[in-house]
């Protein structure tokens, strides 16, 4: 336990003093501030002389200002943060020849990798919490609405999901740093993974959906089931990407008016009527219920990733040469 704390403390100090972390932190902070400012002033203008809708505070995070909303930004660039914190965790020590020295100290071997993961996790949490707090503060100033308890709990859940999402990428990059000897290789592998899951899976999903359940216009107008099937296939494939998991989960959590993760709904006239009648927001518990599978999967892939790096690291031979 003592070894774990010592290693974690040192890694934390390393993170907070490393140039690449500081650069990335300021980059993300700046973009978040700019986005929050644009969205906040937009909201203020729109809401002038109108009764303020409920949950207007959460709109700070979800409404897409000029370019993208804050949660989209974190969904796309958050992984980079995880990768930066972990890609050289183990192989840097190996190439600096400090690893053999470290494991010959009286500490359990797993303290090394646990300490590194924990330090990354703490760094991620501190960073996300401070960004959300800063934006909330800015929002308070701009739109002058104080968030209610439900909004605060929704934001809290959003933070937890985001931490797990970035921790998944931390896990992936630590895994590569255990597996690859060279720091450059592990960094490139982690970035390749990020690009694949964040951009290619979404593109590939529609192509594959076309192949698996094709839709032709003539028949689709008679039989809308085809369209639904196509859409479902696309969705299942795109859920392979943690980014899709994360975006769907966070939009539902932060937007109480959303009632489903489906993008196309097939409704009869009665259903349509009933839906338009009940436009009231969902209670928090219902929102959580909708995205519960997403949350579980996100946590599961994070843990699986870490478990694999743990096992590989524990079995690796330690040679000084």
């Amino acid at each position: 336990m003592k070894g774990l704390i010592t290693i974690c403390r040192k890694e934390l100090a390393d993170h907070f003093s490393s140039t690449r972390f500081i650069l990335l932190f300021y980059l993300i902070l700046m973009v978040s501030l700019v986005t929050a400012f644009i969205v906040g002033s937009g909201l203020r203008d729109e809401l002038k002389d109108v009764a303020k809708p409920t949950f207007v505070f959460l709109m700070l995070f979800t409404s897409p200002g000029k370019l993208f909303s804050l949660i989209q930004f974190i969904a796309i660039f958050g992984p980079l943060l995880g990768i930066v914190l972990g890609f050289d965790a183990v192989n840097r020590e190996r190439s600096a020849r400090t690893l053999s020295k470290l494991v010959s100290q009286p500490i359990y071997r797993d303290s090394v990798i646990n300490g590194k993961f924990l330090a990354g996790l703490i760094t991620i949490s501190i960073m996300l919490v401070s960004i959300v707090l800063i934006i909330s503060g800015l929002g308070l100033l701009l739109i002058g609405v104080v968030p209610g308890p439900e909004e605060i709990s929704r934001l809290f859940i959003y933070l937890v999901i985001s931490i797990f999402y970035i921790a998944f990428w931390l896990g992936i990059s630590i895994l590569f740093s255990v597996g690859f000897r060279s720091v450059a290789t592990s960094a490139l592998a982690a970035i390749a993974c990020w690009i694949f899951f964040s951009f290619f899976v979404a593109m590939g999903a529609s192509v594959m959906a076309d192949a698996i359940s094709p839709v032709d216009q003539a028949r689709a107008s008679i039989n809308p089931e085809l369209l639904i099937k196509h859409e479902q296939t696309r969705k299942i494939i795109s859920l392979v990407s943690p980014m899709t998991l994360y975006s769907e989960a966070t939009t539902i959590i932060l937007d109480p008016l959303r009632k489903t993760t489906q993008s196309i709904l097939l409704m009869g006239p009665m259903e349509r009527l009933s839906i338009s009648r009940f436009q009231s927001p969902l209670p928090l518990s219902e929102s959580v219920y909708i995205v519960f599978p997403h949350l579980i999967s996100l946590m599961a892939i994070t843990l699986v990733c870490f478990a694999i790096s743990y096992t590989v690291f524990m079995r690796q031979e330690v040679r000084s040469t």
Partner: protein, 252 residues
């Protein structure tokens, strides 16, 4: 010199795939002894060290270090044994004191005690410390001395040194040898070290062991080995001659 055995092995064997790295090794090393461990590159010296530290699991056989089994009680062994790997690495962006403090924390030494110890040790290894200077800027000799300080900070009963004088200038090597000798004489620390520099080994070792292709072909005092192999009396031989004799036979 005849204290209790600090290092004992019984048919210690390590097999990597087809290759036998260490083959039924049996050695006993007493407390306070300086044991020189010789052998060509790839003979299995480092593998032996790693097994004695519990960093590598033996395929078969047993070892006891300071009374503990390194495979089962690795933590206890690591608490009592200091290991200086060949070409030891440091955290180059920290200074010497920070490096030492990190290692002492990993050994569970409280910070206030550690800072006193660090001051003492830096004097022992004769390392002048400029706190602004990062270890990355250190010369080879300074790094090696810092490595020794790191090994000594846990007050070890035994130290394993892998090529401690490799790449040091003549003056640096002499200082290192003096330091090793004083560890054994003054502090009764057992020193188990591997080296290729035979004249240095001859100067400080009480006994030597020669390992070739994973087998310990000779263990004993240099005089005895010389008498046995070369048939000459004391002062008429160098360790080099003895070693080469064994080496050529071992390769046959």
């Amino acid at each position: 010199m005849n204290g209790p055995n600090v290092i004992e092995t019984q048919d210690l064997t390590k097999v990597y795939g087809e290759q036998v790295a260490v083959d039924h090794l049996n050695i006993n090393i007493n407390q306070g002894e300086v044991f020189g461990f010789l052998g060509p590159n790839g003979a299995g010296k480092t593998t032996t060290l790693l097994m004695l530290l519990g960093l590598s699991e033996p395929t078969s056989g047993k070892a006891r270090v300071c009374g503990f089994d390194p495979t089962r009680e690795a933590l206890k062994v690591k608490r009592l044994v200091g290991y200086l790997p060949e070409n030891v690495g440091f955290y180059d962006d920290m200074n010497a004191v920070q490096n030492l403090l990190y290692i002492s924390r990993l050994n569970g030494i409280p910070d206030d005690l550690a800072s006193i110890k660090i001051k003492e040790l830096l004097k022992v290894v004769d390392l002048e410390v400029d706190p602004r200077k990062k270890v990355g800027e250190y010369s080879r000799g300074m790094r090696q001395r810092l490595g020794i300080a790191e090994v000594l900070i846990k007050d070890p009963q035994a130290v394993f040194l892998d090529e401690p004088t490799l790449g040091l200038d003549p003056d640096g090597s002499l200082q290192m040898l003096d330091l090793i000798r004083s560890l054994s004489q003054d502090k009764k620390i057992t020193v188990f070290f591997s080296s290729h520099l035979l004249d240095q080994v001859q100067k400080i070792s009480h006994r030597v062991g020669i390992m070739i292709k994973g087998q310990m072909v000779a263990v004993g005092r240099i005089e005895d080995l010389a008498k046995e192999k070369l048939g000459v009396g004391p002062e008429k031989y160098t360790l080099e001659e003895v070693y080469m004799k064994y080496f050529k036979e071992g390769l046959l």
